[in-house]
Amino acid sequence: MQFIQQMINGLTIGAFYSLVALGYTMVYGVLKLINFAHGDLFMWGAYLGLTGLNVLLALLAQTSAWAILPVVIIVMTTVALAGVLVERVAYRPLRTAGRLAPVISALGVAFILESLARNVYGASWKTYPAGITPTGRIALGGNVRVSVMQIVVLVASFLIMGALYLFIQRTRTGTAMRAVSLDHDISRLMGIDVDRIISIVFIIGPGLGGVAGLIVALYYGSFDFTLGWVFGLKAFIAAILGGIGNIPGAMLGGMLLGIIETLGSGYISPQWKDVIAYVILIVILIFRPTGLLGERMAQKL
């Protein structure tokens, strides 16, 4: 029974990783760039959510779970705007500059975002206002319990991921995105506005990341400015695990990483859970060099 409990906990954490990993993987898909700033955009989601909630609750003068909805929209828009801005300023001028320069630029943006958060909010742990999130637990029999919050997290993440998948697969814009990730020049010849598609990717990816930040902060209740690096790195690993550039891969990778970590921490030792996750990542990459769902790439000639 403990196993099922661990699986549920693992899936919840995995859902967070998946949401953040989607941002990495989408940007990688269109730009072939590891967007190191993504983790920090995600962290800003948590901070902005905190400010938003505090302001809103002060205005309402009461605690209400419904305050979360407008905050979600505010966080999503702000972080998405920040994402687009980052792309415009720091990545667009570097499209033709080889592969190293954009990585440094991305790391630079990550430095800026993190330092900004530390200076604006301080280095101490921040706690979300109490009484917003549901606290109940539902017993499933045999000592297995699911908290209401876990159910909310899982349902919300699956809805978001499902919607994103349909968007990418079924809409015109989604199709254009897939085309751009294959080849910029040929997409342009087919009449796709590549810059516009990249901007859209930078709206969706960071937007999702921002919301994920908010959800993570709500789930754990408190966080500090290292959240960006810690979760960012894990989510990036999840994206690679599933095969970077591949959207279902990011979802699968995130879930798997969450489950592996939780099982490792439950059955082996909490101290070694990260080591276990990293070692499994390395082993998987040795046998499947492009990740679990990554396409088998022919070498370019």
Binding site: Y28, K32, I34, V89, A90, P93, L94, R95, T96, A97, G98, R99, L100, A101, P102, V103, I104, S105, L107, G108, V109, A110, F111, I112, L113, E114, S115, L116, R118, N119, W229, L233, F236, I237, I240, I244, Q271, W272, D274, V275, Y278, V279, L281, I282, L285, I286, P289, T290, G291, M297, Q299, K300, L301
Partner: protein, 332 residues
């Protein structure tokens, strides 16, 4: 101005090198201990940059876990010194060998991975090393507090206590490293690295054993970083798992790319930008990282080839830009 530069370029490079060494020897003399330590730190990171440059700059492989090998070198030296009383300078070869061995062990099975996948494995390895040290494997690594009480290096019974002696020790290794790396760059192996960096398939077709060449880059780079780790342990005498932090690897990576990947003077410039200036601007600590980040973005936009790139890389990036733009009617 243009003429002056041309004149300067025509000066025999030997004079530049001698001048540089003389400057490096004289520089710490009028300075206080704090600034001497800053100079030592600069030298340390230049050496780390040189070692990573072999992997990132010459062979073009993404390595974002380089700090792991630096930490491994430091821990090797510290453990040998603390448990077996080996004098610190004699632990240097062991540090090199251990770091190089791990470099081989971790990269051998993953060399066939594409760039970004390789990058994540190196990150993961760096984190594994840090966590193993934190979790105190076999109970000998001292856990999160690390190890302390490491002997300082001693030469013929003369113990190096003051920062300036450490600086000169570093300088000796630095000059050896620069010489060695420069020779490597122009060796058969160096050319093979650059060939692999430019086009792996073509290199293989021309008979370059790409696996062996890439492996050598990792092994040499890692071993060198191990040496630097041991030197660090000798001066600071306290080491902790934080040496293998992702942030450290990021700084090393930035040093190499910011200065211009594959360029030795570029490493020096990159270190000044990433390590020395931030260190000296400690009073501005709160906003230091933001400025650093801002400078990194601005620098890459203005000079994507780095501050002091090797001629080859500069031509390459400028060339790619012209190709990507719609061909202008007149050249500039």
């Amino acid at each position: 101005m243009e003429r002056l530069l041309t004149r300067l370029r025509q000066v025999n490079p030997l004079w530049w090198q001698v001048g540089f060494i003389v400057l490096a020897v004289l520089l710490p003399l009028p300075l206080g201990d704090y600034y001497r330590s800053v100079l030592w730190r600069t030298g340390l990171y230049v050496m780390l940059g040189l070692s990573l440059n072999i992997i990132v700059g010459y062979a073009g492989l993404f390595q974002l876990g380089h700090a792991a090998f630096y930490a491994l070198g430091a821990y090797t030296a510290a453990l040998l010194n603390l448990y077996f009383n080996v004098p610190l300078l004699l632990t240097l070869p062991a540090s090199i060998v251990v770091a190089a061995f791990f470099g081989y062990l971790i990269t051998r099975p993953i060399l066939h991975l594409r760039g970004d996948y390789l990058c994540i494995v190196t990150i993961a390895f760096g984190e594994v090393v840090r966590l193993v040290l934190v979790n105190n494997l076999f109970g000998i690594t001292g856990g999160a507090n690390g190890l302390c009480g490491i002997d300082r290096p001693a030469l013929f019974g003369f113990e190096l206590r003051q920062p300036i002696y450490h600086y000169y020790l570093m300088l000796i290794f630095l000059v050896i490293s620069i010489f060695a790396v420069h020779r490597l760059e122009h060796s058969r192996l160096g050319r093979a690295w650059m060939y692999v960096r430019e086009d792996e398939v073509a290199a293989e077709a021309m008979g370059v054993d790409t696996t062996r060449v890439k492996l050598l880059a990792f092994v040499l780079g890692s071993g060198w970083a191990g040496l630097v780790g041991a030197l660090y342990a000798g001066k600071i005498t306290v080491i902790s798992p934080d040496m293998s932090k992702f942030m450290e690897s990021v700084i090393m990576f930035c040093i190499v790319v910011l200065g211009g990947a594959g360029s030795i003077p570029g490493i020096l410039v990159g270190t000044l930008g990433m390590v020395t200036l931030p260190e000296l601007s400690r009073p501005l600590k709160a906003w230091r990282d933001a400025w650093l980040g801002f400078a990194m973005v601005a620098m890459m936009i203005l000079r994507p080839e780095g501050l002091w790139p090797s001629r080859r890389v500069r031509l390459e990036i400028r060339g790619a830009k012209e190709e990507a733009l719609p061909a202008p009617a007149t050249g500039d």
